[in-house]
């Protein structure tokens, strides 16, 4: 029942807002819808923890410890982003950058986007997973070009073309997977169902599976933003409205990585582990190193944090590539803390760019002096995302590095050098923005910074003490990933 609620709420929200999106109370409605989804997700999580994985809707939807944690995370961040977008969108409307028609589009697409993401996470049918992922891309393309500026159009166009082409490869991979599965499970519907595939993954045909994994990795890898395929990500995350950048950076990348990990689990059965693990580690390491060196040349703040997302996705892919319970645990923890921190940073960046009227880092100065909440939020968020210890990002990076030193010691120097370079680049640019004489003006609508500090508090908590139920929840998921 909860699954119906989790999926139904955002869909209903999308429809309602499609009709009444331009009304005054639309942002509140959207926030309320997201809150409903969050509550449903919480109930679902409790249910799954209580009595283990379950399927529903004649096995089309499947819930296990791995995706239920992502569902809860997605619902929570979607809710906080909705809260943040209330004042943000009103200020944008106040600045005449969006009219009410576009607001209607924005709110309905936002709810549709969260529906698509939840569907991707929950769908047991690999084909439906692809369709939902494509749906998520479609729903965000129009949002990226919401402001109709040449740059946002260019970003949206590239985002759409590159992601559609990427996901098309994923479709071919799904077809090959289905082809291999059909030989074992026979024709009919359940050859695409992940649960069946999972049981029978031992006897699947190795050559087909390796080909399928390549297509799936390239396909969903484009959505994750791994380096050779990352070019759309900085433009898309920088040009769209900030709530969209927050959700894209925070959640969509996780969902894409979820899809890659799902296919890795299947492929591991057939081939011995180092094939898929090796590929993912290679891509992950390449992303971390290249993204780190991109950072120091950035002028636009959201573009810089987009590159930082590429770097963190690289770390996660590397962690999942390494495999083993500790690395998987680290990967999951990194997914959580990265989403929370990155969305918190985008909230503060949104308010900061509105306060200073530009996203160009050279002209944002002295945030702490003008509005301490935004200034301190950005400072602490940046320090958290850079992996400074009291925060949770350091915990997962510590686990990733220590397991890497344990198994693949040659990779650690690359990781550490790029972490150092990233630290120098990002902090070098953020510090003058936070400290010094201010250039920010008073804003019309008071900034909603409660979500920022809630996120950072959770990340700080995860840094020092991971509550036991969360630990064995991650452990189950990590064991599941293998």
């Amino acid at each position: 029942m909860e699954i119906a609620l989790v999926l139904g709420m955002p869909l209903a929200g999308a429809l309602v807002l499609a009709l009444f999106g331009h009304r005054r109370w639309a942002p509140e409605a959207s926030a309320f819808m997201s809150l409903g989804t969050l509550v449903a997700a919480a109930l679902l999580t409790a249910r799954v923890i209580a009595d283990g994985p379950m399927t529903a809707l004649n096995e089309q939807v499947f819930v296990d410890p791995f995706n239920v944690f992502l569902v809860a995370l997605t619902a929570f961040v979607a809710f906080t982003t909705a809260l943040f977008s209330r004042p943000y969108m009103r200020t944008e409307e106040h600045h005449k950058r969006v009219n009410s028609a576009r607001l209607r589009l924005y709110h309905s697409m936002y709810q549709l986007f969260s529906f698509m993401m939840l569907l991707t996470l929950l769908s047991n049918n690999v084909g439906m997973l692809w369709v939902a992922m494509e749906g998520a891309t479609l729903s965000t393309v129009l949002l990226v070009s919401l402001y109709r500026t040449p740059a946002s159009l260019e970003a949206a166009w590239k985002y759409f073309i590159l992601c559609s082409v990427g996901i098309a490869q994923a479709l071919f991979g799904t077809i090959l997977l289905y082809f291999a599965a059909e030989k074992v499970l026979g024709p009919g519907g359940n050859a695409l169902l992940w649960t069946h595939l999972h049981e029978v993954r031992g006897e699947l045909e190795p050559t087909v599976l390796s080909l399928a994994f390549v297509f799936l990795l390239v396909g969903y890898g484009t959505k994750v933003g791994l380096v050779p395929l990352h070019n759309w990500l900085p433009d898309a995350h920088a040009e769209g409205p900030t709530p969209i950048s927050a959700v894209l950076s925070g959640l969509l990348l996780n969902v894409a990585l979820y899809a890659v990990v799902r296919s890795k689990v299947l492929v591991d059965g057939a081939l011995e582990r180092n094939f898929s693990g090796g590929l993912m580690m290679g891509f992950g390491l390449l992303s971390v190193v290249v993204a780190a060196f991109f950072l120091s040349r950035q002028k636009d703040i959201k573009r810089m944090f987009a590159y930082s997302s590429i770097e963190h996705m690289g770390i996660m892919t590397f962690a999942f590539g390494m495999g083993g319970p500790v690395a998987a645990f680290a990967g999951l923890l990194h997914m959580t803390v990265h989403s929370l921190t990155k969305s918190a940073i985008f909230f503060t960046v949104g308010h900061a760019s509105q306060a200073c009227g530009t996203q160009d880092m050279a002209s944002i100065r002295g945030l702490i002096q003008q509005s301490p909440a935004i200034g301190w939020g950005l400072a602490l968020g940046t320090l958290a995302i850079l992996g400074m210890p009291p925060f949770g990002v350091f915990t997962s990076e510590f686990m990733v590095l220590t397991t890497a030193m344990h198994e693949h010691w040659w990779a650690t120097p690359f990781l550490l050098v790029s972490l150092g370079v990233a630290f120098a680049a990002i902090f070098g640019k953020v510090q003058p923005m936070v400290f010094g004489e201010t250039t920010a003006q008073r804003q019309t609508h008071p900034p909603a910074l409660v979500p920022v500090f809630v996120h950072l508090a959770i990340v700080l908590l995860l840094g020092l003490y991971i509550p036991p139920y969360l630990v064995d929840w991650y452990r189950q998921a990590a064991a599941f990933i293998g």
Binding site: W157, K158, I161, L162, V165, Q169, S210, L211, V214, F215, L217, V218, T222, P228, L229, N231, W232, P234, L279, V290, F293, F294, L295, S296, R297, V326, F329, I368, Q369, L383, L386, P389, P390, F394, T395, F398, M399, L401, T402, T403, M405, H406, T412, L416, L419, G420, F423, A424, A425, F427, G428, Q431, P432, F435, G436, E437, G463, L464, Y465, I466
Partner: protein, 662 residues
């Protein structure tokens, strides 16, 4: 014992958080919290002193990673450093209470929080017994001190100093993390007990040593990685720079000793020679650059670099002796190094607090504008004099004791068989002597220019330090005196620390000599009694005064100083700080990158200024920055903006993978 120190650290955290309560213009933080912090510091010092004599105790907290919870451990080494942290921290907190009384409410709460989180983080660094808690505490310490350094962040120089500081601290932390990775030797457990148990092949032991040396050296302010220290310490408010210079750098020394002596265990003599070379370089570099400074706090920061060099010399010698299998001499070297760590913490803290009082009352940091402060600030002048004499390693005070012990270690050189090292050791002792004498010259310059003679700048009214400031200064100068006059007690304690770490203490008859004499090896070989020094000199002074008054008279008249016939003596005729450093500039010229601005003959307001640059910027820092810039420029080509190029990238990746798979 361990629970007490844990409670003390948690108390500091609580005090820090309490500072945030904005009740009554943060009256709580203004009146109560800092003295409370000082009290907690004293408790910690007492616990530390006691722990030095007891066997190690361990404890596991439920916090931290699921399979690596926080391990805590207190052994004599940790006890000693807790004593250092608590003692010096208490003095500085009392001083801070007075110094920050006039701070605005909002900032005071913030400073109180960051200050006490800083102290607590240092305590946890010392207590940590597993890699994770150590790293968390290490970087929280760096973070808290970064925010303290950038309290008044409106000044661009302070911002860049803060950034440089946090960057080098982070790079150091990365090296330390890598070192722990190398140390754990392959079975995935990162608690220090496991790291100790893991035996390493010689190659990996060398790699671990190099990484630990670079990592902790970056935080201590060693030669190539020191550039942040002369920038960050002056930028911070004075109590914070005292805490950073006095105590934080010592946590780096603690880390170095813990990793090299405890975790790696088998010390090799080649490491000792490396540490000696870098230590000598650091010492000379630090003192020579200090002599050319005219900003008081920057001068003191360079002296911190110098004293770290002296500590490294002691450590290096002890490693050489341990490496060659002479544990007694090695233990003496370790004791000399640890003793100097404590001494430096005490007198550097005192000097920075003194500089803080000057800054607080006259608002001056530039020596060329100071002068004649002894008359208007007698208390600060006296305490600053005690600190200056201590740092110049003059006999009755504590600076001399640790240098004397280091000399005695160097004099054990004949024990060594290896010819080269044996003759090198005394040369290092010579550099130590040169550094000591140069420090004396530097502090004559500082004290003479700042406190004595006529006021150079516009003589605005300068009131002496407040009561609590004076209390803090008095506590630290008392520390200097006690550590200087009764070294034997401290020698026994440090011997305990050395024995617990390396299993070897000093020779038997060095220990059973009574409290009056300081005997490092045997009485015949060397002994020194500071108390007799002081008593005899005092007696002779009093007797002579009495005799002169008795036989002759005590009449005295005040008059203008001898002006050699020149009518009016202006205060500009006195030596300025740069003038005093001029012989050094001549003797050690090529070491500096000097930019001299000489006034032109027709210049209306002739002004002479000299700017001394640090060559390391050109050798180490700028090339690294240029390399990173070059690589990121090359990487930038990946994102040229054309969509067809991007499509080509994904196409080629697909084809490459397909080829690879088949």
């Amino acid at each position: 014992m361990l629970t007490a120190s844990l409670l003390a650290a948690l108390a500091w955290l609580a005090i820090g958080l309490a500072g945030l309560i904005p009740a009554g213009n943060s009256a709580l933080a203004r009146r109560v919290l800092f003295p409370l912090g000082a009290a907690v510091g004293l408790v910690l010092a007492a616990v530390g002193a006691q722990a030095a004599w007891l066997p190690p105790a361990t404890m596991v907290l439920p916090l931290g990673l699921p399979d690596l919870p926080f391990h805590l451990r207190i052994d004599p080494l940790a006890g000693f450093f807790l004593l250092l942290l608590g003692g010096v921290g208490a003095g500085i907190s009392v001083y801070g209470h007075g110094y920050w009384r006039s701070e605005t409410a909002g900032r005071l709460g913030l400073i109180c929080l960051q200050y006490h989180v800083f102290l607590a983080a240092m305590a946890f660094v010392i207590l940590a017994d597993d890699a994770y808690l150590f790293m968390v505490a290490w970087e929280t310490m760096a973070l808290a001190s970064y925010f303290l350094v950038t309290t008044d962040h409106r000044v661009p120089a302070i911002r860049s100093a803060g950034f440089l500081y946090l960057l080098i601290a982070h790079i150091g932390a990365i090296a330390i993390l890598l070192c722990f990775g190398v140390l754990h030797g392959g079975h995935g457990d990162y608690s220090f007990a496991a790291l100790r148990a893991a035996e390493l092949t010689p190659f990996w032991a060398n790699v671990a040593f190099v990484l630990a040396f670079i990592g902790f050296g970056a935080k201590a302010g060693m030669i190539p990685l020191h550039a942040w220290l002369p920038e960050a310490h002056p930028a911070a408010p004075s109590p914070v720079s005292a805490l950073m210079s006095g105590v934080m750098i010592k946590t780096a020394i603690y880390g170095m000793v813990r990793v090299i002596y405890d975790l790696i265990g088998a010390v090799r003599w080649e490491w000792g020679v490396v540490v000696l070379l870098i230590g000598a370089g650091t010492t000379l570099f630090g003192v020579l650059f200090a002599l050319m400074q005219h900003d008081l706090k920057r001068l003191l920061a360079y002296h911190s670099v110098e004293n770290i060099g002296i500590i490294l010399l002691g450590l290096g010698m002890s490693m050489v002796f341990f490496g060659f299998g002479h544990p007694a001499a090695g233990a003496l070297g370790l004791i000399a190094a640890l003793y100097h760590t404590l001494n430096h913490a005490v007198f550097k803290g005192l000097l920075f607090l003194g500089a803080g009082s000057i800054l607080h009352s006259t608002g001056l940091r530039d020596l060329n504008h100071m002068g004649g402060l002894a008359r208007t600030m007698p208390a600060t002048a006296f305490h600053f004099l005690v600190g200056a004499l201590a740092i110049s390693a003059l006999p009755p005070l504590n600076g001399f004791v640790s240098e004397w012990l280091t000399f005695q270690t160097a004099l054990q050189a004949p024990l060594l068989e290896n010819g080269i090292v044996r003759s090198l050791l005394p040369l290092f002792a010579a550099t130590l002597a040169l550094a000591g004498a140069l420090t004396a010259m530097c502090f004559v310059k500082v004290y003479g220019v700042a406190f004595l003679g006529q006021p150079r700048g516009k003589a605005e009214i300068s009131h002496d330090a407040g009561l609590s400031e004076r209390l803090g200064l008095a506590w630290l100068s008392a520390g200097c005196l006690v550590l200087g006059l009764f070294p034997a007690a401290m020698l026994h304690m440090l011997n305990q620390v050395g024995a617990s770490l390396t299993g070897h203490g000093l020779s038997a008859d060095a220990l059973e000599s009574n409290w009056l004499w300081l005997v490092p090896t045997q009485p015949a070989q060397a002994s020194y009694s500071p108390l007799i020094f002081l008593v005899v000199v005092l007696v002779v002074v009093l007797v002579t005064i009495r005799l002169v008054r008795f036989f002759y008279h005590g009449r005295v008249r005040r008059a203008d100083p001898w002006d050699c016939g020149f009518p009016e003596q202006t205060s500009r005729m006195q030596d300025t700080a740069d003038a005093f450093g001029q012989p050094i500039g001549l003797v050690f010229g090529p070491l500096y990158q000097m930019k001299r601005h000489l006034p032109a003959p027709e210049d209306g307001a002739p002004k002479y200024s000299i700017k001394v640059e640090d060559r390391h910027w050109g050798w180490v820092y700028l090339p690294v920055a240029r390399l990173a810039e070059f690589v990121s420029e090359k990487v930038g080509l990946l994102q040229r903006g054309r969509i067809s190029i991007y499509l080509l990238y994904s196409f080629l990746t697909l084809i490459a993978l397909l080829v690879f798979v088949r």
